[in-house]
């Protein structure tokens, strides 16, 4: 039980990553695939944040006297996640605008039907 309590964030993060990959592998609708990428990104971000998480930890700011640095969460990973979120948003915007264009050209978002390019 304590294993679950200790590793719940990692389990959640890898669960989200696997769900995202599953969506990407099994769904054919482009919008659903983009949602899959989104879930995958969220899982990775959660993994990063949980690496630096301490239970009952505070932000690493010496605002009050008596704050020990052992009780502070790791700020580096939070900076990384911030960057990763911004990158994810950019990819998402790009993907959705491509989806709009694709729909204008083909009248469908089913990737099984959109395959003029191939070997």
């Amino acid at each position: 039980m304590s294993f679950l309590a200790d590793y719940i964030y990692y389990i959640g993060a890898f669960g989200l990553i696997l769900i995202g990959l599953y969506i990407l592998l099994t769904k054919h609708n482009l919008i659903k695939m983009i949602i899959g990428i989104c879930v995958l990104d969220t899982g990775v971000n959660l993994l990063l944040v949980s690496l630096g998480y301490i239970k009952d930890g505070t932000a690493p700011i010496f605002s009050k006297p008596g704050l020990a640095s052992e009780n502070m969460v790791d700020p580096t990973v939070q900076a990384l996640v911030l960057t990763a979120i911004v990158i994810g948003v950019a990819v998402m915007a790009m993907a959705l605008s491509l989806a709009i264009r694709l729909y204008q050209h083909y009248g469908t978002l089913d990737m099984r039907k959109i395959k003029e390019q191939r070997w």
């Binding site: 990407l24 990973v77 960057t83 790009m94 264009r101 694709l102 083909y106 959109i114 003029e116 390019q117």
Partner: protein, 515 residues
């Protein structure tokens, strides 16, 4: 003291990035100015790289940002490898952007130039950075700009390829980020030298998983065999200038990242045989698929996959000579493949189709472009006076030096790949020069939907004439470089040798950063 005081490698990233985002501002002054910004920025980068090159051969330059010493800051590591790559990126970027002055005249021009510059900035950043998360960020700049540029024309083929490229590429990026998270969890640092110094303090299985994630993630961008599905679509449906940059630079960055991760960070010399096998498979699959193509740009794209395989093979040999040969092959491919794509660009404009059979007799109508195509093809095959010959020769020599029967078999397979390559290039050259006197040929089934071709040939002025002078200049410069380096390969000897030493000598890299 000297040059490194006033020329800082950080300029190589900062100046093009600043130019990229100021292009719309220049657009306020005059719409005609915009297109001259990318050549300007890339010329600057080329000059800076060439100035720094003799410096970094003596001693790598480590730039720490924000005033903290390395492991605590983000640092740039401008070693021989980084400066060699940034010089090649700047050279190809400069020549292709001159070609684009005339070639790009429809669509959202300013966005094209912005994305083009940010793509090259991302590539330069990846090769110069010494921080693994920073590497990821620059890699994403490169990837996102290339997704947008592949779909730049907004036609059916372009948008479809861009969407597929984006989905595969973002899965790759997610894998890289998971790998970075796992490394950070174990070592508590993002500095590549710091990770490299501690890498053997944990059990092998714990570093094996991030290593595999990195190889898969960067392998998608580098189009290594099982991960190459996006490349032929993306490279063949983008405008020719973009194909040239994607083929000449973008995919090499994936290979660079794999080399940096495997050699420097992980020091995984037991992984090398796996890389060699992957390289061989990629080479054979690429060349065999290229052989069966009817579409010229698609053929060149598959040929790029084959060349990537060859570079990976040479890097995987793992001796200093082999790595130098791999980097030499990288230069060969960057020069030759961008020349091939540029030469093809106006041929496609003129005949209005990408089918190889429709290029019949173009050798008489566009003699200079055809000559450039021929020289690029000969160079890739590895015929003597051109740059492809010494680089392939070095690969063969480095294998022979290895004295291993297994590798002798491998080099036999590589030479078989070269024969296939020669076969399909000679097929095209034969169509260019020696066909077309015969009257009309039966119309081949057009695999490309007409719409995509029509968009690319819409401006009818260019259809009548050959390539304009602005487009010929970069091609001629590339031809001169190909012949010049081919005749005197020792010209690159110093930088290639010290580059291969940088990749092999991890201890020196770590000590160089963490003094």
């Amino acid at each position: 003291m000297e040059i490194s005081n006033w020329v800082n490698p950080i300029l190589l990233i900062a100046v093009p990035l600043a130019f990229a985002f100021s292009i719309p501002l220049f657009g306020f002054i005059s719409k005609r100015v915009e297109r001259f910004i990318p050549p300007l920025a890339m010329l600057f980068n080329l000059v800076i790289s060439l100035i720094l090159m003799p410096e970094v051969i003596k001693r790598p330059i480590v730039v720490s940002l924000a005033g903290f010493p390395p492991p605590f800051c983000i640092n740039l590591f401008a070693g021989p490898v980084g400066i060699l790559f940034s010089a090649v990126i700047a050279l190809v970027g400069f020549l292709v952007s001159i070609y684009a002055l005339d070639y790009i005249k429809e669509g959202a021009e300013e966005k094209y130039h912005m994305l083009y510059l940010s793509l090259l900035t991302g590539a330069t950043g990846v090769v110069l950075t010494g921080d693994i998360f920073n590497l990821f960020v620059f890699f994403e700049i490169l990837c996102i700009s290339s997704y947008a540029l592949v779909g730049y024309l907004g036609n059916r083929a372009g948008v479809e390829s861009a969407a597929k490229y984006l989905i595969q590429g973002s899965v790759g990026s997610a894998f890289i980020l998971i790998g970075i998270a796992l490394l950070y969890g174990q070592f508590g640092t993002l500095n590549m030298a710091d990770i490299a110094g501690n890498i053997h303090s944990v059990s092998p299985i714990q570093i094996f998983i991030p290593l595999v994630l990195f190889i898969v993630g960067f392998g998608i961008e580098g189009a290594i065999f099982p991960l190459n599905a996006w490349l032929p679509d993306a490279h063949s449906s983008a405008p020719s200038t973009i194909s040239a940059v994607l083929s000449g630079i973008a995919i090499k960055i994936g290979i660079y990242a794999i080399a940096r991760v495997v050699f420097t960070i992980f020091g995984a010399s037991d992984m090398l045989l796996f890389l060699v096998l992957l390289g061989l498979l990629t080479l054979l699959v690429g060349e065999l698929s290229a052989f069966s193509q009817n579409n010229i740009k698609r053929m060149l794209a598959y040929s790029s996959i084959g060349q990537i395989g060859l570079i990976l093979f040479a890097l995987g040999i793992g001796t200093d000579y082999g790595i130098a040969a791999g980097l030499f092959q990288f230069i060969t491919h960057a020069l030759s493949k961008s020349l091939l794509f540029l030469a093809t660009g106006y041929m496609i404009y003129r005949v209005g189709s990408m089918e190889i059979s429709s290029l019949e007799g173009i050798g008489k109508k566009m003699p200079l472009s055809s000559l450039c195509f021929t020289i690029g093809a000969f160079s890739l095959i590895g015929l003597p006076p051109f740059v492809g010959f010494p680089s392939k020769f070095w690969i063969v020599l480095s294998v022979l030096e290895k004295h291993s029967t297994l590798y002798i078999v491998f080099i036999g397979i590589v030479l078989l790949g070269t024969v296939i390559e020669a076969a399909y290039f000679f097929k095209v050259i034969q169509v260019l020069y020696f066909k077309g006197d015969t009257e009309e040929t039966d119309p081949i089934v057009n695999k490309i939907p007409e719409a995509s071709v029509v968009q690319e040939v819409k401006s009818s002025n260019a259809v009548k004439t050959g390539a304009p002078i602005v487009a010929l200049i970069p091609m001629v410069i590339l031809v001169l470089l190909i012949i010049g380096i081919g005749i005197y390969p020792k010209f690159l000897g110093d930088i290639l040798n010290s580059s291969s030493l940088e990749l092999l000598d991890r201890i020196k890299y770590i000590q160089g950063v963490l003094r």
